[in-house]
């Protein structure tokens, strides 16, 4: 585990600040359970929505008797339905997340914890999926802030290691999780099998998808020199390189192009994409950037 394990994922001050936030969805989703979210469906909340003519079989409890008295006609009074929001977090715990300083895995877990806590505070249904080359552990259906310790322990205990195959994990997630909602993917996106191939599974479920790419400073600005044998920490693949300025420049421009390609893909499919470095203050990310991106309010 990373060296930052001693530090709690979320401290008390920060929790207090998170309580003021809520996760917003750009889409009105239908959920099975009633929640605090406005639904498209007409339901039984206190908020008036519309009237419609009575047809036999309607629940006479919803007849507006005042109107009947005045007009002698039966009208049904409709109210807005309030539903809960599904917040799913796909957390990358593959081997590559353990690489770099500060640790990407730790950073990702903290982001996941913060977003999940915001969801819990707002009575959203929070689902956590840790994945590597497939979904390795799940904790779904978390609701209310009472389950915060469970949430944190799940995140703390999620094992980091193994290869990275987002497409397989997304497919598994999509099969298990049929409900709509907000889906946040936290990963370094360094997936040789092709990260973008997994996103259509999420889009297909009509989810409001957010992609947060977490990179370490070593990945963004490599501090390498000399003749090196670079070993992939996930699959042990070897690249023998002689570091030169040309090579470094080429690497950086490749990284940038890779990130841009993902950003472009996401933009065209209405996915929110955000790139961050582990050196970037985590609190600022949640309180400022996620808010600016409209994930939280």
């Amino acid at each position: 585990m990373s060296r930052g394990a001693a530090q709690p994922l979320l401290d008390a001050d920060f929790l207090a600040r998170l309580e003021q936030l809520e996760i917003i969805s750009r889409k009105i989703h239908a959920a099975r359970n009633k929640g605090e979210r406005q639904s498209k469906r007409k339901g039984e909340s206190a908020e008036f929505a519309d009237y419609r003519n009575y047809v036999p079989g309607d629940d006479i409890r919803h007849v507006d008797w005042n109107i009947y008295a005045r007009l002698d006609r039966l009208f049904l009074k409709l109210f807005l339905e309030e539903e809960e929001l599904n917040v799913s977090i796909l957390l990358d715990v593959s081997g590559s997340m353990d690489n770099g300083e500060p640790s990407k895995a730790r950073y990702a877990k903290r982001v996941a914890a913060a977003v999940a806590y915001i969801g819990l505070c707002n009575y959203d249904r929070v689902n956590l999926y840790a994945y590597a080359d497939s979904v390795v552990s799940t904790r779904s259906g978390l609701r209310s802030r009472r389950v915060l310790p469970q949430l944190l322990s799940f995140l703390e205990e999620a094992p980091v290691g193994g290869g990275s195959r987002f497409a397989a994990a997304a497919r598994q997630f999509a099969l298990r999780h049929t409900q709509k909602g907000v889906c946040l993917v936290v990963s370094d996106l360094l997936d040789k099998s092709g990260f973008l191939e997994g996103l259509p599974y999420l889009i297909g479920r009509q989810m409001d998808v957010y992609v947060l790419q977490v990179l370490s400073p070593q990945e963004m600005e490599p501090d390498l020199a000399g003749d090196l044998k670079l070993v992939d920490c996930e699959d042990g693949d070897v690249a023998e390189v002689t570091i030169s300025k040309m090579l470094l420049d080429r690497y950086k421009s490749n990284l940038q192009a890779y990130c841009e390609s993902i950003r472009d893909y996401c933009n065209r499919r209405g996915i929110n994409y955000l790139l961050t470095s582990t050196t970037h203050p985590f609190e600022a990310l949640v309180l400022t950037y996620l808010r600016a991106r409209g994930l939280v309010r």
């Binding site: 990407k104 040789k192 044998k229 920490c233 690249a239 390189v241 080429r250």
Partner: protein
């Protein structure tokens, strides 16, 4: 299994193995670093390789291998050859020509012999270690420099120590010697160890001839065993030389000397040079002692006519002058050329001497004929006639002077005798009563069918017109030389014993028309010149380098000193029999012989090359031995060995390595 080239293998192992280890140490030891993903790195490297071709050249092993493969294929296509000295069979006989023409100085200032010695030494060096080599040096005669040995260092030293001679090149004795030595090495099956030398198991030797090909008698030779290879040395062809030389006293006026010289140009350009004559090292008084000769270029061997119609390449020069005394005549060419041996010739001349001739004859017609020839024709001043009985009864002091015959020549007509003090005898119709000589049956009516015309006695004797009615068959020892022969028997012969020379004609002069023919005075003249060592002819004192000269030793002489052309002095003891033979005449020049007798007799001999074959110094491209043409190889030329199979093999190896690396993909 035998490793023929284990030294080579060891040599390459010594180079390759440290090189391999060095490469192992030089191999890049990369530091290992863990990264999140090699995905972007590999992509970056690939991009860099694609965009920067020189980076790719520097880094891509596969490309390098492909280039090497291509290079090896191209190399194979261009048919590379390595110049290796041929590895001959294990037994070698090296024939090293050290005849006069090998003294030719080449452009680099070294003589041909030195070039040949170097080539032969290199040849020996290049031989396999266990090969046996024999070295024979030859001029007119061969000498074994080294018998078969595998000691290369010794062979090399002996080859380099070989000294040149002025002898004409004759391979006639050297080749059979080489063949004999090499043939003796044939293995005897079933015999092991003790008696058979080590080389014997290796079969017949090859003969390697290092020469300029100027050898006079190759066409008369045969190679019965083994193989002859001719390594040609030398390139120079510029030479003007004296190829014929003779000195004569006039018959009529013995005080007058005629010197005949033939000068020949063997070079490719016309030349003009001076020819001078010296007597005892001093120029003769008068303008005639220096002559200018103009010679055309030598005719190339391919054309039949003269090269320059206006100017022949050879010219005869005759010097005539009065000289009553003796001395040494020297004729010198004043031109520096590559070959100096033929630029000067010497001839010793004696003062005109009174010949003393004794005729032992009872018959008047013969007496008349002899007197007429001797006294009137040849001007023999002291001519005496004795009857046969008178000769037998004559006092010793009349016939013997100083232990030898008092006469230069004794002619005996129809008389057998044993009164023969050391001297020269000419028998007509009689024989000397000595061992091994006898007379057989009478032969009548047979024609004369053979005369040895190359013998000095028979030179210019026209025997065809001579008829001999009857003669008696001669029984002679083996060393006798027959001069006239019938179908089955010998009519005239010459016999040389220590101190004596006999010419025996077994026919009566009156039974033939010999005395009526012009052949008779010619024969008598030859007999006077050859037998009586007369003052008229000097030919006996001139010889070829390498010849042996013999002379009569004066009485009372115990020792003889011979001053050689280089000034050194040989001392020889006088053997019994009154004859001196001297054979160390390899150098051209004047040999002065002095005896320690009371009269302090001094005799001079001269060795002159006078050989157009040697003087024509342009190296011979090929020559014929027997019926087989022997082509030359330049001594420096080595045998080409094709290397393309190696290039193809290298290419295949590189292809395999490339395939392996491609599959292994150890490198990006």
């Amino acid at each position: 299994m035998t490793l023929l080239s284990w030294k080579t293998g060891l040599f390459f192992a010594g180079i390759v193995i440290p090189l391999l280890l060095l490469l192992y140490f030089l191999k890049l030891r990369r530091q290992e670093r863990k990264v999140s993903s090699t995905y972007l790195w590999k992509k970056a490297v690939q991009d860099l390789q694609v965009n920067a071709p020189f980076q790719k050249l520097r880094r891509n092993l596969l490309l390098l291998l492909q280039l090497l493969l291509l290079a090896s294929v191209l190399m194979g296509l261009s048919e590379p050859v390595a110049n290796f000295m041929r590895r001959p069979e294990k037994n070698i006989v090296i024939l090293l020509d050290r005849s006069a023409s090998m003294k030719t100085v080449e452009r680099d200032g070294r003589t041909r012999l030195e070039h040949a010695q170097e080539a032969a030494a290199q040849f020996v060096q290049a031989l396999p270690d266990n090969s046996n080599t024999m070295v024979i040096g030859f001029g007119a005669t061969p000498s074994v420099v080294s018998t078969f040995t595998d000691d290369k260092r010794r062979l090399e030293r002996l080859i380099r120590d070989l000294e040149p001679t002025d002898e004409p090149g004759r391979i006639g004795e050297a080749l059979p010697l080489a063949i004999a030595y090499s043939s003796n090495l044939i293995d005897i099956p079933g015999v092991e160890g003790s008696t058979v030398p080590e080389g014997a198991t290796q079969g017949i030797a090859d003969i390697e001839l290092f020469s300029d090909g100027r050898i006079g008698d190759t066409d008369q030779q045969f190679i019965t065993r083994g193989q002859l290879r001719y390594f040609r040395v030398g390139a120079e062809s510029d030479n003007v030389g004296i190829t014929a030389f003779d000195v004569r006293r006039d018959f009529e006026r013995p005080g007058s000397l005629a010197v005949f010289v033939r000068v020949e140009n063997f070079g490719p350009v016309p030349v003009k040079t001076d020819l001078s004559i010296l007597l005892d090292g001093r120029r003769l008084p008068g303008a005639g002692s220096i002559r200018e000769v103009q010679l055309g270029a030598a005719a190339p061997p391919t054309t039949t006519g003269p090269a320059d119609a206006g100017l022949p390449s050879a010219q005869n020069v005759i010097f005539e002058f009065q000289h009553e005394a003796g001395g040494v005549i020297e004729v010198r060419l004043h031109r520096e050329d590559a070959f100096a041996v033929d630029n000067v010739v010497w001839a010793p001349v004696d003062p005109p001497r009174e010949l003393r001739v004794l005729a032992v004859c009872d018959r008047a017609p013969i007496q008349r004929v002899l007197r007429k020839a001797m006294v009137e024709s040849f001007d023999v001043r002291e001519y005496q006639t004795m009857g046969r009985e008178e000769y037998e009864k004559a006092a010793d002091d009349k016939l013997i002077l100083g232990g030898r015959s008092a006469y230069d020549l004794v002619v005996l007509d129809d008389h057998d005798t044993n009164r023969l003090p050391p001297g020269n005898y000419l028998f007509f119709g009689g024989v000397p009563k000595i061992d091994d000589v006898s007379i057989g049956d009478e032969v009548a009516g047979d024609p004369i069918i053979f005369a040895r015309q190359d013998h000095p006695l028979m030179r210019h004797v026209a025997y065809e017109g001579v008829f001999i009615a009857r003669w008696r068959a001669l029984q002679l020892p083996k060393h006798a030389v027959s001069l006239l022969e019938g179908p089955d028997t010998v009519a005239m012969a010459m016999l040389t014993d220590p101190g004596h020379r006999y010419v025996i004609a077994s026919f009566d002069l009156l039974d033939s028309n010999f005395t009526l023919k012009e052949a008779f005075p010619m024969f008598l003249q030859n007999a006077l010149g050859y037998l009586a060592s007369g003052g008229l002819l000097e030919a006996r004192r001139m010889m070829r380098p390498g010849d042996t000269f013999t002379m009569n030793v004066p009485a009372d002489a115990k020792k003889v000193k011979i001053e050689r052309p280089d000034g050194s002095i040989d001392e020889e003891p006088v053997r019994a029999g009154g004859l001196l033979s001297y054979a160390r005449t390899r150098e051209a020049g004047v040999y002065r012989v002095q005896f320690d007798d009371p009269a302090r007799t001094k005799e001079v001999f001269a060795a002159n090359l006078l050989d157009p074959i040697e003087s024509s110094i342009a190296p011979n491209e090929s020559f014929t031995v027997g019926t087989e043409a022997v082509e030359s190889v330049l001594a420096e030329t080595k045998i080409n060995r094709p290397l393309w199979p190696y290039a193809v093999m290298a290419g295949l190896c590189i292809l395999l390595i490339e395939w392996w690396i491609y599959n292994k993909r150890v490198m990006i």
